[in-house]
């Protein structure tokens, strides 16, 4: 989605380019801005406050510190606004970022929201940027599924295993136990952990329940020469 400003600048740029090479060299090039949003929780409760990370990067790496970024909800209303910080996101070259707190919608369901950054004309001019994120509001969970994850061979608990009952997610604690708050219904319990083969078991959750997952070690890959039965 391009703003009026972006379109105007783009047209202006194109016109100048076609006028003459000399003119074009004097024309400030329109920089694109790419936005990204992460750390969006997979589920939120109605009206829950939650925080997401937002980032913006200029196509040529301009300093975007202090630029405003707005989150717009599915009704087109502003859900939040933040100014990008002065540091770039760890591991990136020029992705300026910030954390922003917003409130989940009241109604259950998946809601498309949008992060927006307006363009500007001051040299060098920048186009606007946008990014669509999905906010999922779930009904209040009414059951707790306790999942015990352990090493099948060693019979020892596995900490830090990922337990997914879509859209709900949890991690096991040091005792190899994850508690997932869910709404009654059918689920696949997916369990994975680094260096183990993932497992999946189907369950129908009608009340609080306990399940377990025995994981087999994922054999480190060996060249065919070194395969062992």
């Amino acid at each position: 989605m391009k703003s009026a400003l972006a379109v105007d600048l783009a047209l202006k740029d194109a016109t100048q380019n076609s006028a003459s090479d000399q003119q074009a060299q004097c024309t400030p090039e329109l920089h694109a801005v790419a936005l990204t949003v992460w750390d969006v929780p997979p589920t939120t409760a109605s009206g829950e406050r939650f925080t997401v990370s937002v980032g913006a990067r200029c196509s040529v790496g301009c300093d975007l510190a202090g630029r405003e970024l707005t989150i717009v909800d599915h009704n087109g209303l502003r859900a939040g606004m933040v100014k990008l910080g002065g540091d770039v996101c760890p591991g990136t070259e020029a992705l300026y970022f910030a954390r922003i707190e917003v409130s989940a919608p009241l109604e259950a369901g998946s809601h498309p929201w949008e992060a927006r950054m307006a363009g500007w004309e001051t040299a060098p001019p920048h186009a606007c940027g946008s990014f669509t994120l999905m906010v999922r509001v779930v009904p209040t969970p009414d059951c707790v599924v306790t999942v015990k994850v352990f090493d099948r061979e060693k019979q020892t608990p596995i900490a830090g295993a990922r337990v997914v009952m879509h859209p709900y997610r949890a991690l096991t604690d040091d005792s190899g136990i994850a508690r997932v708050n869910v709404v009654k219904g059918p689920y696949d319990i997916l369990v994975s952990r680094s260096h183990y083969l993932p497992t999946c078991v189907g369950v129908d959750v009608t009340a609080d329940m306990i399940s377990s997952a025995a994981l087999d070690a994922d054999r480190p890959w060996a060249p065919p020469d070194e395969d062992h039965a």
Binding site: W38, E93, L95, V164, D188, V191, P224, H228
Partner: protein
């Protein structure tokens, strides 16, 4: 970097003067026998030294009434050819078939010159796992059956199998490796099409080959199962190892930690791959891989006076007539390798016995025999595509690509044989065998098979070891083709099923375990059994399939990319630093997916077309994660799905690799190359991956071939 330790010197009785160098500064010389060497001085290294040594040797030779020689620049032999060098036996290739052949011929008193296109000895054997399945009642089996140790006392673990699991004879072994009834988990028959004469000879020579290796400084672990296509009904594999020690000393059987490499950090000139622990199969302090095998054989070869002309690529087999008569020798070209960005020529680990010949092209007469042990066609897209058209893609390389160099696995021996009328065999046998081509789960390096670390002279050619993953780690990435579209369920991309190997059973595609297995039983491949055990996987085929970026006339499938984000690194603890990745065009990071696309398009040598769908693919994938289901490839029922949204974003190359060659020159049970009429081409031998007809993975095949060819050459009348 890693300083190289002092290398072990070869013993003083070593000589390297058995070859005619036919040049103006050469006096008459003759060949010497191994027993003659013991009173001679140590070796020449360079050409000059070689020539100086040659004069002295020539005097002695004359006294022994040696062979004729010439003082002209080249010698014109009775065949009318002008030869630069002359020797009894020329062996092309210093790998798993060439080296045993050379030693075997030398043991019979013949003069032997080994030429190799690379700068060091060993070919693919050097980067192998040194897993050697022989059998038929070989000395390692007998040793373990008797509960005995090794003569040096290195073995500290008791036998790993019960005697019945290792008890067999060569008849049993022959039946096992030609068993028509055995299938693998993909429904392929790995033993059915093996050439009967060739494998009869192979089986018959397995015990002697094992003993031969042990007699030439190869130490073997306990027998531990069998590896790919080494038969299913008995345990036959032993692994070559050395013991960690204060110095690298082949005679003593020791290697320093520095030469053995440091896990995750360094390899060495001695061992291109880290030598891992063999404690389970041999004992504490034992380390294994192809270096333990290769360096032992090399040491023995040099000690016995075999000479090597490295950096020398065979380009032509010379025969009396184009398609008739005896093979006379070879023409070979200079093929040096230089450290990237320098004029420094790479040199072999040991140099005693090397002939430093740098002329562009030379001729070498093989008075008695020529053996082609130059390896397979794994790196030749034209030959590969005879088997599988999609592998005309030059982006995909042979295993050991950096180690072997641009001519490694180029099929030159096969092509040269074809040019003088040799027949081919086993041309269908590459297909369906998971060892021949597959996708190893190692990202971000062009040679995804070989986990080379810094320290070996060829590491700078690859620059990255690669990110080694378990296949379960593919949960955290998406795999896309050259236009940025996913092509398969990522969890299956690098899955490779086990071959039918000992002890069999359903996991290996065989109904019964171990001693219960019945050779040649129809039940091994009944429809009911196949329906029950089948676990085939076509990810490789999807990976190399034509896509929207495939363009006439070649229709290259193009590079493949694993796409992931910082969330992946954090969840699965990937180490993406050096030496596992490098700025070498096989690994990229970027702030956004769009920037990642630009970097790949600009920075990868085989990214010929725009990655135009990648951004949309990532958006689509993230929407699937939101929905908890992947309608495109069925993810979501097998493992958790994760968004790719946390910057920075990464792309790491997924590289299919062609590892084994199963189609090549047709040979008989003596290792002699046959022509299209089934007649022996006089004087020409072959083995290992240069030969075909044997769908047998690994070193056991090639080592025995070399032993057979060398034995046959020794018996052949001049």
């Amino acid at each position: 970097m890693f300083a190289e330790g002092k290398r072990q010197d070869l013993p003083s009785q070593v000589t390297s003067k058995p070859i005619y160098k036919l040049g103006g500064d050469m006096a008459k010389k003759r060949d010497t026998k191994p027993e003659d060497h013991k009173s001679q001085e140590t070796t020449s290294v360079g050409r000059r030294k070689f020539l100086q040594g040659g004069v002295a040797a020539g005097v002695g030779a004359a006294a022994l009434g040696g062979c004729a020689a010439t003082s002209s620049g080249q010698r014109t032999s009775p065949d009318g050819m002008r030869w630069d060098y002359e020797v009894d036996v020329v062996v092309v290739g210093s790998g798993a078939s060439g080296l045993p052949c050379a030693i075997r011929a030398r043991d019979a008193g013949l003069t032997v010159l080994v030429i190799d296109q690379n700068f060091d000895i060993g070919g693919k054997m050097l980067h192998s796992g040194a897993q050697i399945s022989l059998g038929g009642g070989d000395p390692c089996q007998l040793r373990d059956i008797a509960g005995q140790g090794d003569k040096e006392g290195f073995l500290k673990v008791p036998p790993l199998h019960k005697p019945p699991d290792m008890t067999e004879d060569t008849d049993f072994l022959f039946r096992d490796i030609t068993d028509w009834s055995v299938l693998d988990l993909g429904g392929n028959a790995p033993y059915r099409y093996n050439d009967r004469e060739m494998h009869r000879a192979w089986a018959d020579n397995c015990p002697a080959t094992r003993q031969f290796l042990m007699d030439n400084y190869v130490r073997f672990s306990r027998i531990q199962g069998t590896h790919g296509t080494g038969g299913v009904a008995r345990a036959r594999r032993a692994t070559a190892f050395l013991m960690l020690g204060d110095k690298t000393d082949i005679k003593a059987g020791t290697v320093t930690r520095q030469d053995a490499g440091i896990q995750g950090k360094s390899s060495s000139h001695f061992a291109p791959r880290f030598m891992d622990s063999a404690a389970k199969w041999a004992g504490p302090g034992a380390v294994y891989n192809g270096a333990a095998l290769t360096r032992g054989l090399e040491f023995s070869a040099r000690e016995k006076g075999i000479q090597f002309m490295l950096n020398r690529k065979m380009t032509e087999i010379v025969r009396e007539q184009p398609f008739a008569g005896r093979v006379l020798g070879v023409r070979a070209s200079y093929s040096p390798r230089f450290a990237p960005g320098t004029k420094t020529r790479l040199e072999s680990y040991w140099q005693n016995g090397n002939i430093d010949e740098r002329r562009a092209t030379i001729t070498i007469r093989a008075r008695k025999s020529l053996m082609i042990g130059s390896g397979g066609h794994t790196a030749n897209p034209q030959l590969r595509s005879m088997f599988y058209p999609a592998f005309n893609e030059p982006a995909f390389v042979s295993s050991g690509w950096a180690l072997l160099g641009p001519h490694g696995g180029d099929g030159s021996g096969i092509v040269a044989g074809m040019r003088i009328g040799a027949n081919l065999a086993g041309m269908q046998q590459n297909l369906g065998i998971t060892q021949s081509f597959h996708i190893p789960p190692r990202l971000a390096t062009r040679d995804s098979y070989t986990d080379m670390l810094p320290g070996h002279p060829t590491f700078p050619f690859r620059r990255s070891t690669g990110i080694s993953l378990g296949t379960s780690s593919y949960e955290h990435l998406i795999a896309v083709n050259q236009v940025g579209k996913r092509f398969y369920n990522e969890l299956d991309v690098a899955q490779r099923y086990l071959s039918p190997i000992w002890p069999g059973g359903p996991r290996a595609g065989v109904p019964l375990h171990s001693l219960q297995h019945v050779q040649g039983d129809w039940r091994n491949c009944s429809r009911e059994w196949v329906r029950k055990m089948y676990n085939g996987n076509a990810s490789l085929d999807a990976a190399v399939a034509m896509n929207e970026g495939s363009q006439a006339p070649h229709f290259y499938s193009g590079p493949l990319w694993a796409i992931f984000d910082r969330g992946t690194i954090e969840r699965d603890n990937w180490d993406i630093g050096a030496p596992f990745t490098a700025d070498n065009g096989y690994f990229f990071s970027a702030d956004t997916i769009e920037e990642l696309v630009r970097k790949i398009e600009k920075g990868h040598e085989f990214q010929r077309v725009p990655l135009k769908y990648l951004s949309e693919t990532v958006r689509r994938w993230n929407s699937y994660v939101d929905k908890g289901a992947d309608p495109d490839f069925g993810r979501g029922k097998d493992a958790p799905m994760h968004k790719i949204d946390k910057p920075p974003f990464y792309a790491a190359a997924i590289c299919p690799v062609w590892h084994d060659s199963y189609g090549g020159l047709r040979i008989n049970g003596k290792g002699q190359v046959l022509d299209t009429q089934g007649a022996v081409i006089p004087g020409l031998y072959s083995g290992g991956e240069a030969s075909g007809g044997g769908n047998q993975h690994g070193l056991g095949r090639a080592l025995a071939h070399g032993y057979i060819a060398g034995s046959s050459i020794a018996r052949e009348r001049a």
